[in-house]
Subunit: 397 residues, 3 copies
């Protein structure tokens, strides 16, 4: 089985309508794009010619969801070994679209899929291209189902020859206003994405993270177009690049627009890793000197805040693979170590050791301070917020 995929190259055939499987789409007025898009930079590009390449649908058919067993069958007595087992197990059942990093001290010894791909080289480029191609397939399937979305999907996905351009366009359409018109933002964002390839690599890891961990995410294009956590995170990556270049004024202006449009307030100075899921995202606040590792999952209304009015390093440091539940406040320059889990509604003012679970207000470790229960899987991957409650004696109603 093959699927036709839009690409941006210049081969003139087959014609555009060949991928449109419903008659109504044929009638969609290609040149009467809604005036809502006037000012959108992508209109300045020629609509034709657009080439269609045939790629095997099977490339995208397998599920990227990791079906992690709730009880890890590989668990053995030595906890660290068990944890490494989890990491290996995670690799084994994971599709090649899943980024996966080890937790805590074993980093250098544990090869993960992404590292392998990096070393092989070339394959990753292909994989990245595949992701964008898959999104175009998803987009054409979506407008097949909902022809009234043709204009929107065309201008936001199908008319772009790369995810970079599509992301720059989509963010600039969302964030543009009288302070920074969409056109200005688009040029700015395209420039930054061209300068720094790392931003797109991280953005693609984020896309995979959302698709992997959020059961409500039905496709990559669904996340890309709709998820304000994803979009706020990418806007932050761009603002952070500007901040690191010393362009503080415009970085702060973007922070503010993201706070208004997506209600996600991330200071452009904050450092955020790859493979990040900001689920629901409303009300997230992340301070200037916060650092977030890779493969972290953060729910809505989470605060990584400072304390005191003194400048300087004053915000939390979040390790790899951490999960932070909804409505939690982590305040001050404290470390949440790799693989830790913070329950919903917690208030955390002190360090949380690796692979432990902290819950409550004030937060306490499940199992007690002296001998906390250690997690045998990445909580950010399992998204399991509640399975340890029977171990927390207070958590009985």
């Amino acid at each position: 089985m093959k699927a036709l995929v839009l690409t941006g190259s210049t081969s003139p055939s087959p014609p555009l309508h060949s991928f449109l499987s419903t008659k109504s789409l044929l009638l969609s007025p290609l040149f009467s794009i809604s005036t809502n898009f006037l000012g959108s930079p992508n209109l300045q590009k020629p609509f034709f010619p657009i080439r269609f390449s045939a790629v095997p649908m099977t490339t995208f058919a397998r599920s990227p969801r990791t079906e992690t067993p709730q009880t890890n069958p590989n668990r053995i007595e030595a906890e660290n070994d068990a944890f490494n087992d989890y990491v290996r197990h995670c690799r084994a059942v994971t599709s090649d679209l899943v980024s996966c990093v080890p937790v805590s001290g074993e980093k250098s010894n544990t090869l993960c899929m992404r590292t392998v791909l990096d070393e092989i080289g070339g394959e990753e480029d292909e994989q990245e291209d595949n992701l964008w191609q898959q999104m175009k397939v998803e987009a054409s399937s979506d407008i097949d189902q909902e022809p009234i979305l043709f204009n929107y999907y065309f201008s936001s996905i199908l008319s772009h020859d790369s995810m970079e351009n599509a992301l720059a366009n989509h963010l600039s359409m969302k964030l543009g206003d009288s302070s920074l018109p969409s056109g200005t933002l688009y040029d700015l964002f395209v420039g930054l994405l061209t300068q720094d390839q790392e931003i797109m690599i991280a953005a693609k890891d984020d896309l995979r993270a959302v698709k992997e961990r959020d059961p409500a995410c039905i496709s990559y294009v669904h996340c890309f177009l709709n998820f304000k956590g994803f979009l706020a995170c990418q806007a932050h990556r761009l603002a952070h690049k500007l901040w690191s270049q010393g362009r503080k004024i415009i970085a702060l202006l973007i922070q503010n627009r993201v706070s208004e449009v997506f209600t996600v307030d991330i200071h452009p100075g904050a450092k955020i890793g790859k493979g990040i899921l900001l689920d629901h995202a409303t009300g997230v606040v992340i301070g200037e000197t916060a650092v977030i590792g890779n493969n972290v999952s953060i729910l809505h209304n989470v605060t990584l805040g400072g304390t005191g009015k003194v400048s300087g390093d004053r915000h939390p440091k979040i390790g790899d693979g951490v999960l932070i539940g909804a409505g939690t406040c982590v305040l001050g320059n404290v470390r949440i170590e790799d693989g830790a889990k913070i329950g919903a509604g917690s208030v955390v003012l002190k360090q949380v050791p690796a692979r432990t679970t902290a819950v409550g207000n004030p937060a306490k470790l499940i199992g007690g301070k002296e001998n906390p229960i250690k997690l045998d899987s990445f909580p950010s991957f399992t998204m399991d917020h509640t399975s340890d409650i029977s171990k927390w004696s207070d958590y009985v109603i």
Copy 2:
């Protein structure tokens, strides 16, 4: 005393200005509607002729507020009987605009006003019409006080011949953007509201719920135009209809726009009853498999969330008459039974029995797990968040 009410019928007299009691309104340029409304579908309708009907103001003059006594004088020894007494009492003092359902097992035995009306038939239609007529009276009174709002009230209320059209128009104006222009949304929404009468019945119950329970709500039209909780809930009802028809793509797109515009994130799969108050509403998150009963009051920043990344039934089930305080997280497929109350800032991971009060992080039952204190009134109706604190020994500062 009589009040003139705009209706949408075609009788040509009296002329429009007869209901405008201030001179300044006469000068309002009817045909120079602000260009802000260009694209609004209601402009495609002829402005004239508009008929005015005279309805007795007294129809609307009585207060719809239930003045529930803080201590129910009917309370007797057997708790269930006392609760039924409450329900009867509630019916007795309630105006005919109040929807009222019984709690827990006594449902089939307790007739409530709405059920009575359903059985009588005809009367409900009249009541529904009365609600829309009352809103037009309120609207004309508002522009009497604030002539600068004439254009807005005309295009959003007075130019519509039914609440369905006005709601479709108002939501499409709020949610429309380049992804789904207002005109497209309007056509979509009008179609759904015509197909499924239940949506408007629920919307009207919601309007009454807000007016009844929120002392800050000064009129139905105030709620209809301004309350983002009300508007987000109606947008959800429309998205849920699309979702149940298999139109997932567009349902999810509407969810996203509602999350951006109103910061209320309700998955279109969630099932929500009638008579719902989402007070303030900022930050509310409701997951795909959540179910909410009738006559529920939910404050801002409440999460009905899942746990784990496994698909399937993973979100809370909220019974009738439940009150959930601000900032509370209910996580997992747990039941909050009929008439329960959850205090502000609570974290709930287990079932809460009917008519009990759960508070804290982790939530505990007031009165203790074995013998919790039972409420003798619907907390969602009384909106009483705090009166039991003296029974919770911890709640002393």
Copy 3:
């Protein structure tokens, strides 16, 4: 060293470009202001002539930050004396831009900088003018760094001859929509600001409060243009003025727009003092009968809410100098007395005595109910959320 400052007076020289230090700015088409600003009322004003006055940069060079020592060296045995010492100390090290009020009973005996200035008279006007001049200096410095922001800064800051006009314009640009177009809002706001000088005095105190207490605030103009907490607070001041004039309909409409645009929901009936910092601001909810004193700092997701559905005085009363941490709910008509601190994520249902710290859910006083530890500095000034945790035995992980 001197800096050129834009003022609104009519002296024709030096020409505009003299303050534009980069060539690109010379090329900025002054008369081709982005169409995004069409409809902005400031375009109706002539762009020229604009006079530039030279003011000493040193006027603005000193840091307005109070470097309050973490341990107050003046602390003596009698607590009240120590606290007064703090107030005096605060005055001593504070720049003349810092507003400073005493806490609790000592008010009448403690002169603060602002009071002194009020008595001297004249000087305050000068100081107020200086603030606006400083913001113009900051604005010209910003566009020096980011020429693409020229249009925005010109229309929002540099083209205005007073902060009143700039504030009215900026808020009307942010809040305007089809319900209340920007032009209508601008006229309304300018009228209110002209009628009631107190609003601008409070707004300027707020600007100084943000700059003083939030290390992430890099300049007054940064706060003025970007901080949604600041903007929401000023929009509330305008809505409250309308409310107190009996113009409830339009006051409530502004409340709703602020809730949509800034996700800050403040009932126009609420009374709010001067020198207010709403940090991050997302999700703040303040009820109709709430009263907030002077020099208060409130973090995001804070609720000052009611309980029950009875109208009347039902919301919290917040004293001077109070700090309320992120995600905290204060419910009911309870007093948070002067100088108190409420930790993040707390639920407060009872009075909190002056200068004490309440934390947790339910909130408890640090040090215990009988003998709570008393703060020796204003928590709203120090923004110290966490330094007492060692005294709260529960706050150990």
